[in-house]
């Protein structure tokens, strides 16, 4: 492979891919959510634009692109403009560190399916994904309006609280895998023969609940609770800036689902590695397994949304401080003890 291809084209291709991949996933997710929720409610959902309505998110995005962009006169213009970008790009940037599979060998060249490999990839991804909350806070504050401000305040408390159990459960994974490298974590799961989700079910459950709360999704969608706060922190946003918030929420969901799959469900590994009769599953490319697993968790998001009412603020905080954090702490201690005794 010529140096030109290796040094220039492939990085450029990767950059395009890392933008396209989350965006396509977001579009698919938006369509999926609207269709699946509709079907769960005995409706049909979007089915007019394109085959079965798959182009619906495209039409939505295009329409929003051509909408007028309103900045309220009382708003803090700089922060008002920055926050949607901050939210969108922190989610997209995190995707640079999320591997999509094992490196592929093309002749002598090794194509890695990630943009940046880092020994502390896990920390970076979590850190970047929590930056997006600043976008929410700034956006809510800069709107200079009461409902967005209340949404932003709710968001602060919620994210601050739920980061703790999230961090504690991630710690158990890092502890067991003895690595913070996302690729390495998957490899360790392959080597140990059991996915961490089955090894440490409590870690997985706490992580998942906290992750749903982190992404501001039902039943934890208090910062944008429609029946209470109109549209929450993005009430004053219109056009493309609103689209950024909207897409960032879904990008965040894709990111969190990817993390769950990598940390707890073996990433791109095929299921049942120890069952000889199912060896043919290895023939399916790892990326396909990866996508299937992500889709499952995205579906779970939608399922939860269609089923549960919204938490109230105090019970939300009670849930995390009285249940999740003690549980995560006990779980962490247990993991350390078991690991130490063995």
């Amino acid at each position: 492979m010529t140096p030109f291809v290796a040094d220039l084209l492939i990085p450029v291709g990767k950059i395009v891919a890392v933008i396209l991949y989350p965006m396509v996933m977001v579009m698919v997710m938006i369509w999926l959510e609207r269709r699946v929720v509709a079907l769960m409610q005995g409706r049909l959902g979007p089915n007019r634009v394109g085959f079965q309505g798959v182009l619906q998110p495209v039409a939505d995005a295009l329409k929003l692109f051509f909408k007028e962009d309103i900045i309220p006169r009382q708003a803090d213009k700089l922060l008002f403009n920055i926050s949607p970008i901050l939210v969108m790009f922190s989610s997209l940037l995190a995707f640079c560190f999320v591997p999509l599979g094992e490196p592929i060998r093309i002749g002598t060249y090794t194509l890695t399916l990630w943009i940046a490999e880092s020994q502390v990839g896990l920390l970076i991804v979590l850190g970047l994904s929590s930056i997006s909350v600043f976008g929410v806070i700034f956006g809510g504050w800069a709107s200079n309006s009461k409902y967005p401000l209340m949404g932003a305040l709710r968001s602060v408390v919620q994210v601050l609280s739920y980061e703790i159990p999230l961090g504690l459960t991630v710690l158990t994974v890092a502890f067991v895998a003895r690595s913070m490298d996302l690729v390495e974590i998957v490899r360790r799961q392959e080597a140990s023969g059991v996915w961490y989700g089955f090894l440490m079910p409590i870690s997985f459950v706490v992580f998942w609940i906290s992750a749903v709360a982190e992404t501001n999704r039902a039943p934890f969608d208090l910062p944008e609770a429609e029946s209470e706060l109109v549209a929450g922190y993005h009430t004053e946003y219109s056009g493309m800036k609103f689209a950024y918030f909207y897409m960032a929420e879904y990008a965040h969901m894709v990111l969190v689902s990817s993390l769950v799959v990598i940390l707890f469900f073996g990433g791109w590994l095929p299921p049942f590695p120890s069952v000889k009769a199912l060896d043919f599953l290895d023939a399916v490319p790892g990326f396909a397994w990866y996508l299937i697993k992500i889709m499952f968790f995205l579906y779970l998001y939608v399922w939860i949304r269609a089923t549960f009412p919204r938490y109230r603020f105090d019970s939300l905080i009670r849930l995390v401080w009285k249940w999740l954090i003690p549980l995560a702490l006990a779980n962490f201690l247990a993991v350390v003890l078991v690991r130490h005794l063995r």
Partner: protein, 364 residues
């Protein structure tokens, strides 16, 4: 994160004020200090308008008061006029009225369950409630051609007779509704989040409830068995066997529970009314131009929202001198502040939803 007490303006355009109600809230860290409802955004001047219409022309306008239960409004007004004019309604018409009004109660409560759950965030229930409600609207559409503003009860009787086809269709719907109700109850009854949001929220004790003039399901949720259908039976309600479901705590959950139980009771009543449908006319002989000698009458019924009454005063012409409506939502809403004070902002929405107000009825 202590921040000052702020005034929050909810409405008149807000997704969960059920229309164009405006609430002036004072909140301190989301804890509600004061609630002041501001009305009149849907004040259409109905009572003034009625004074310029004949007795029969008023009936279709009553549809637009409580638009989720238009037949109940028709019935209350017609009963008041009949009481004033001394019109004897045939037994068959009374039974048809009961069947229609109880179907309307089903529709209203099902829609309420949907709105309420949607306010709390369970959006699927809204769709399930409306799906079940569509079945009932189909019956209305077949009976008199309209879905929402039905205008099925007329002075002296009902608009037309029911035939065997309609009866069998109603029975089919009555069999389907419990299944739909099952779907809703499966999602909510034992749901932890739902219970956290509703149990013990918006409590009102029985004494306070009566003092505030609360009527209908919110009052019965506080354990007061005040139901006009039992207390002062009208339209042959004393012929039917039904229970008045009561709550114990007077909180939002009990209001939910009482309404869902009322759905079951209404199904029973409609079944009995259809079984025992007597032979006879569906309408009394009422002169085309109804002139009523001077006088005044007041009649109340138990509408899905509470005790609904009409005062009709006649001056001897073919138009009422004054029609005054006693609207249940109007009085029920007064107790909002009592229930909300000290609760969280999110609960205001739940409590408001649990009162089941309709702005058309409040603002007239």
């Amino acid at each position: 994160m202590a921040f000052r007490e702020i005034d929050l303006n909810m409405g008149p355009q807000h997704p969960s004020t059920h229309g164009v109600l405006r609430l002036k809230l004072s909140v301190d860290n989301e804890v509600v200090l004061r609630v002041e409802p501001v009305l009149g955004y849907l004040h259409r001047g109905m009572e003034k308008l009625w004074e310029s219409l004949t007795y029969a022309q008023v009936v279709p306008l009553t549809d637009r008061l409580d638009y989720l239960a238009s037949l109940s409004n028709n019935l209350a007004y017609c009963l008041a006029v009949e009481k004033l004019a001394g019109i004897e309604v045939p037994k068959r018409a009374q039974y048809i009225r009961v069947a229609l009004v109880e179907l309307q109660r089903l529709a209203s409560h099902l829609a309420w369950a949907g709105f309420m759950a949607n306010d709390i965030g369970a959006m699927s229930v809204l769709l399930y409630g409306f799906e079940a409600r569509e079945d009932i609207l189909d019956i209305f559409e077949e009976y008199c051609g309209a879905r929402l503003t039905v205008h099925g009860v007329r002075i002296g009787g009902v608009i037309r007779d029911v035939d065997a086809t309609l009866v069998s269709r109603i029975r089919a719907v009555l069999e389907r509704i419990p299944h739909r109700l099952e779907d809703i109850r499966a999602l909510l009854d034992e749901n932890r989040i739902w219970k956290e949001r509703t149990v013990g929220v918006g409590r009102i004790a029985a004494g306070d409830a009566i003092d505030y003039g609360l009527t209908g399901p919110p009052l019965r949720a506080s354990g007061v068995a005040w139901d006009m259908r039992k207390d002062i039976p009208y339209s042959s309600y004393d012929d039917f066997d039904f229970d008045v479901p009561l709550g114990a705590n007077g909180d939002v959950y009990d209001r939910y529970f009482v309404r869902l139980e009322e759905i079951c009771q209404s199904i029973r009543i409609v079944g009995q009314a259809l079984d025992g449908l007597p032979e006879g006319d569906f309408k009394a002989k009422v002169p085309r131009v109804l002139k009523i000698p001077p006088g005044e009458a007041f009649h109340t019924i138990e509408s899905p929202k509470g005790v609904l009454g009409f005062t009709v005063r006649s001056d001897g012409t073919d138009k009422p001198e004054r029609v005054k409506m006693k609207s249940p939502s109007f009085i029920n809403l007064q107790s909002l502040e009592h229930m909300c004070r000290g609760n969280l902002f999110s609960d205001v929405i739940g409590i408001l939803g649990s009162l089941d107000i309709v702005l058309g009825e409040i603002d007239k």
